[in-house]
Structures are given as structure tokens and as C-alpha cells.
Symmetry: C2
């Protein structure tokens, strides 16, 4: 399947009696369908209405000039007044009797405004275009690789910057700035730099805490490149690592490598997750791995597939996702090692290339 | 009214038979109620359940340690499994028969998950805690002033950086970086640096275009400080301004000053907006002002009050909002001048202090 061609055609083929048309409001889905991964602000407030053979993009006056010159391969209409009044009129005018909508991306207020005005039946969908986005095309993989490469380069630069006395947020700021300097659209998410006891919080942000000798420093960040999101984590030690730090780090490194070695087409997300969990069980630390193993990446930083105990869908060729086991000890600190990988015919290709040997700074 | 005290008490006073309890999912509302303007990530995934005399915060395992140590003055429960299953059980367990929810901040998928499981009637609210947030307390105004001051300082620094040959995104990146260096939590929104013909798009971002002699350069940005959002715009000219540039700039400057002079307690948003529109009408450019005059600011970068042709609510003392008229000419360029102001007893106090004289660089 080459997704870069005819994304509308692929979508038309999904329509049937139960979902004969789609109202798309998720900006990532709209960008995907238009093959325009950076078009519009995330809060652009427009939508698409699509039925077999016809796709219409609705945008407000702020975006109409941009949309009109972008050669989008679909009809374009300018929003005037409430988007949902126009959506309802268009649905009825096109004689659409049932229309799927993205239930995770339409608020109750928006849905009520729509429901009051259209005669069509509104069918809530949890996933539709998202299914198409699971398998990446080669151009998408190239952009994800480039996003990973920028992130890797910034990590190697940042190792020269990190020193005792800097605040976590100083390091986070340098990471964000350097990714943009290197050509990133921006950061995939709010950069995490969590040091010492803070590193024990899986989702710590970056705060005023000063880096100190003896700290674990967990850095979780990623560049966006041409609309595609990278995500990687490395944990280093400030100064010589203690014996316990080496133990914990080694435990995560072994588990992560084991998963990378075992991943193959057809394995489920739950099976991949279990590889890490069993590796931690063997060293008596299974209860310290408190989150899922990984998640898909692409036009969003969190998308399918999910790799966790409850995910029974099979991993397929050209899916791109993270592998990020971690161990967290309250009061002591935590370690996470996260790579981005693409599933290939014979196992995974790792897109993030930074070393995973334990790095001791200074 | 001193909002900094007893925000829960103020909320309890709003409950009546039609809305005897609230399920709060909007992070800004939750931060406001807890008087913790930076607590949790925006996507923290928790919620609050509140009825007269009782407020419970639900957070997942990632945030439970942080929440427990923050002295929040409410009950805290850890989410396990689906948030909406737990919300439904808690609603029924507390014998809540009707509960308001934030219709703009609950997706249809979330609402369905909740509705299936609770016996309570779910009442969609467009605005509730938001009403309380309209009037700022002095501490909030102090944080907004500080956010404005950081933005002002960065603008004066950036005037020394801007030169022909830089890309728009280089300038945007410097603005973002310098705001963080100066103590900002981050940027209020994606910084706009729109040059030459790009400046004609009211919501242009920052792209690869190189700054050139003769360009208008429209910079729209703002720092977040302690959770409070600044927003300001200045438009400068690269090199000597042309006669037409002076005309357009002067037109916007006069309109903006006129609004600042006329704003007073009791005026409606529509009346304020009309002051700018009439000023543009007098110079034959009214059709080139294609957006609203302004919007409120606080824990969100866009909140109440709105200042536009349709906003008939009255502006009250200690509301904080933007005044941002602009004129946009396709192919030629655009000018916007935006200040943040706080409504005081005898008119507005302008929080952003940067000069509005026409600046010609180099």
C-alpha cells in the first residue's frame, strides 16, 4: 500500500452503509488526507466533509487564501458564521443521511450544535482515518527518521552543556532551542528534564531544581520535522554512577534491548510489553515499571499502535512506534530508555541512534 | 470580590437546583479552582467532581504524588482504569442526581462513556467556572503584568536582532528562547513573525521567508508567567517606511489609541469594537479590519470577555483583555498593534509598555 497516493481514494473504499460519509475534525486526520502535514494551526477550527467521490474542506477567512493556493485536490468552502450551522447545511444539501464523526475530536457543545440542525444520523467513530495512518509510507518514515536524527544530534550537543548547577528548565530550554535551530518545526511535546528524585516521576516536566552530582538526569524530548513527531528518552548520571544506579540502568537497558531483539511482524502490543515486564520480573523490579511499553508516532506524538498489557492488535510492517521501558523508585530516581522504531520485514529498524551505554558526565 | 480566597466557596454559591454539582474537565478551570495556576500538564487526563461543601480531584498515578504534596484543600482520589467509569461511580455514590459538565471540554466519546454508567442527569454547560475567572484578582493581575513585562523586554531585545536576510522562523525562535531565558514558563501561543506580503494574513505563523528591506514585520507573541498568558503585537518596517506604509500604520495606531482612550467600565465589547471600526471607516479602510478587536486573557490565552461586533456583555472592573485592531491588504501587507489592558475604575491601564511609534529598522 502506498499511502502517499490517493488517500481520498483509500478513504472512499472504507465507506459502506454503516458509515457512508465522514465529518473530519481532527487536524491530524485532515492533514493526512490532504497530504499536507503542516497545513493550518492545530486550532484552525475548520473541518472536512467527505463522501464517496467528494471531499470538501471548510476553512474560515484566516485560512482561505492559504488553502486556495495549496493545490489540495478537494473542494474548498469558506466558513462564515458558525461552522456547525454550515456543516449541517452541507450535510443536508448533499443528501447525506448518515455521517460518521470523530467522537474523540468533537465536543458535546459542537455535537449539539450540529445535531440540532441536520436531519442526518450522526454516527460516533472512535477510529477511522486513524486506521489508515497506522501504516506509514516511505516518505512519512523519511520525515520521522529526520525528526529522530535532529533529536539525536541535539542530545549529543546537550551532553556538552549539562553540568551541575544548571536548572532542569535551562537544559530543557537548550534542547528546544537547538532542535528549532537544527530545522525542527518545534518540540513534539513539553520537554522533560527530570533530575535526582524528580526522575522517579515518569511524567515529570522540567522545574527549577538544580542538577547535582549523583543525579540521574532523565531527558525525554523529540523534534517535529515536516509535521512528523520524534520521541526519545535517555537517562544519564551526573558524575560517577553508584552501584544501585548501575543496577537500575542496566536493568532497563537489558529489557529495552530484549524487546528490540524480539519485536517482529505479527506480535501483539501486549506480547511486546510482556517481554519488558518479564525481564523486570527476573530482577525483582516488575512493580517499578508503571506505564505502557510504547505508542505509535506520526502526525501526532501519541497515535496507534499502543504497546501495553491490554493491546491485542498485531504489529504490522511499516508501523512506527516507541519502545520505552523504565523503572522508577520514589525518593531515589528513575531510568527510562526510549527509542523510536519502524517495523520492518525482519524485525525493527531503530530510528533514534544515540548510544544507550551508561553516560556519566564530568 | 477577592478571588484568591475561597474559590470553592464562591463556586458552591453558584450551585442551585438546575446545576447542583459540577464535573470539571477544563484544566484552566481546575487550576483556577485549586489556585494552582501551573499544576499538571494540560493533558493530565483527570477531572474534579464538586458539590456544595465537597470537592474531589481525580488524578492518575503519574500525578498522585504531586497532587498529594501540594496542599490543594480538596479530597484527592487516584484514577485506576477508565476515568469515566470512576466519575460515574463517584457521582452515584455521592447521590448526585444532576451534574453540570463543561460541554466545550468533554468529547462526545467521553460523554458517552459517562452517560452509559451514571444514573445522574448530565447538564451541558457552556460557561460556569469561566464566569468566575472573568474578573481578575490582584495577584492574577500581577502575574499578567509580569508576563507582559517579559514580552516587552524581549521585544526591545529583538529589535537589535532583526535584520534583512534572517528568516521569519529565526526571529520567532529567538523570541521564544529569550522569553524562557527571562523566566517565562513558555510562549502563550505559536509566535507569529509575518513579513512583507505574509503580514497581510492576520494569523500567519512564521515561515522560511527571508526578511527584506521594505517589509512590514508583524510580530505577535507573548510570555506565560506563573500560568498567566501575555499577548502583544507590534509591527515594524525594515528600512525606511513608504508613504503607504505610514498611512496604514498611522491608521491602526490612531484607532488603537482611540479605543484605549474611550474604554470604560460598563461599555460593551461591541461598543469598544465599534470605536475601532468607525475610526477605520473614517479613512475608508473599514473592510480591511477582518477580525474582532480583542479577547480576554488569563489562565488561557483566549478567554472571556470577547470584544467584537456581537459581544453585548459589559466590560467590568479588573477584567483583562487585548485591544488589537489591524488592517490587512492582500499582496501589500498588514499592520496590527495589540496591547493587553486591565479595566480600572477610570479607564484602562495598559500592561504592555512597548512604544507604538513607527519603528524603522536600519
Amino acid at each position: 500500500m502506498n499511502q502517499e497516493l490517493d488517500r481520498f481514494e483509500s478513504l472512499y473504499a472504507l465507506f459502506d452503509e454503516s458509515v457512508p460519509a465522514l465529518l473530519a475534525t481532527n487536524i491530524a486526520n485532515i492533514r493526512y488526507l490532504l497530504n499536507q502535514p503542516t497545513l493550518f494551526d492545530p486550532d484552525f477550527g475548520g473541518f472536512m466533509l467527505i463522501k464517496k467521490g467528494l471531499a470538501i474542506l471548510f476553512v474560515d477567512s484566516r485560512y482561505i487564501a492559504k488553502a486556495s493556493t495549496a493545490n489540495l485536490g478537494c473542494d474548498i468552502r469558506q466558513l462564515t458564521g458558525s461552522p456547525w450551522v454550515m456543516a449541517a447545511s452541507a450535510i443536508d444539501e448533499l443528501e447525506i443521511k448518515r455521517v460518521g464523526f470523530e467522537a474523540n475530536n468533537l465536543s458535546v457543545a459542537q455535537w449539539e450544535a450540529l445535531k440540532e440542525r441536520t436531519k442526518a444520523e450522526l454516527v460516533p467513530l472512535k477510529s477511522f482515518v486513524e486506521e489508515e495512518r497506522l501504516i506509514k509510507g516511505e516518505k512519512e518514515i523519511k520525515n520521522l527518521s529526520r525528526a529522530a536524527a535532529i533529536s539525536d544530534n541535539v542530545f549529543s550537543e546537550i551532553l556538552k552543556v549539562v553540568q551541575p548547577g544548571l536548572r532542569e528548565i535551562d537544559v530543557a530550554m537548550e534542547i528546544d532551542y537547538r532542535m528549532k535551530k537544527a530545522g525542527a518545526d518545534g518540540s513534539s511535546f513539553e520537554t522533560i528534564v527530570a533530575s535526582g528524585p524528580h526522575s522517579a516521576f515518569p511524567h515529570a516536566g522540567a522545574e527549577d531544581r538544580l542538577l547535582q552530582l549523583g543525579d540521574f538526569i532523565k531527558m525525554d524530548f523529540g523534534a517535529v520535522y515536516s509535521g512528523y513527531h520524534a520521541d526519545m528518552t535517555r537517562t544519564i548520571v551526573m558524575g560517577p554512577a553508584s552501584k544501585r544506579q548501575r543496577q537500575v540502568y542496566g536493568g532497563v537497558k537489558v529489557a529495552q534491548q530484549l524487546v528490540l531483539d524480539k519485536l517482529k511482524v505479527g506480535m501483539t502490543g501486549a506480547e511486546a510489553d510482556a517481554v519488558a515486564r518479564e525481564s523486570f520480573l527476573a530482577i525483582g523490579m516488575a512493580d517499578k515499571f508503571s506505564h505502557n511499553l510504547g505508542h505509535g508516532l506520526g502526525l501526532e506524538v501519541h497515535e496507534g499502535p499502543s504497546l501495553g498489557p491490554k493491546n491485542n492488535k498485531r504489529l504490522e510492517k511499516n508501523m512506527v512506534f516507541t519502545v520505552e521501558p523504565g523503572l522508577y523508585f520514589e525518593g531515589f530516581g528513575g531510568v527510562r530508555i526510549e527509542d523510536m522504531v519502524v517495523m520492518r520485514e525482519n524485525g525493527v529498524e531503530v530510528l533514534t541512534k544515540s548510544s544507550k551505554e551508561l553516560i556519566e558526565i564530568g
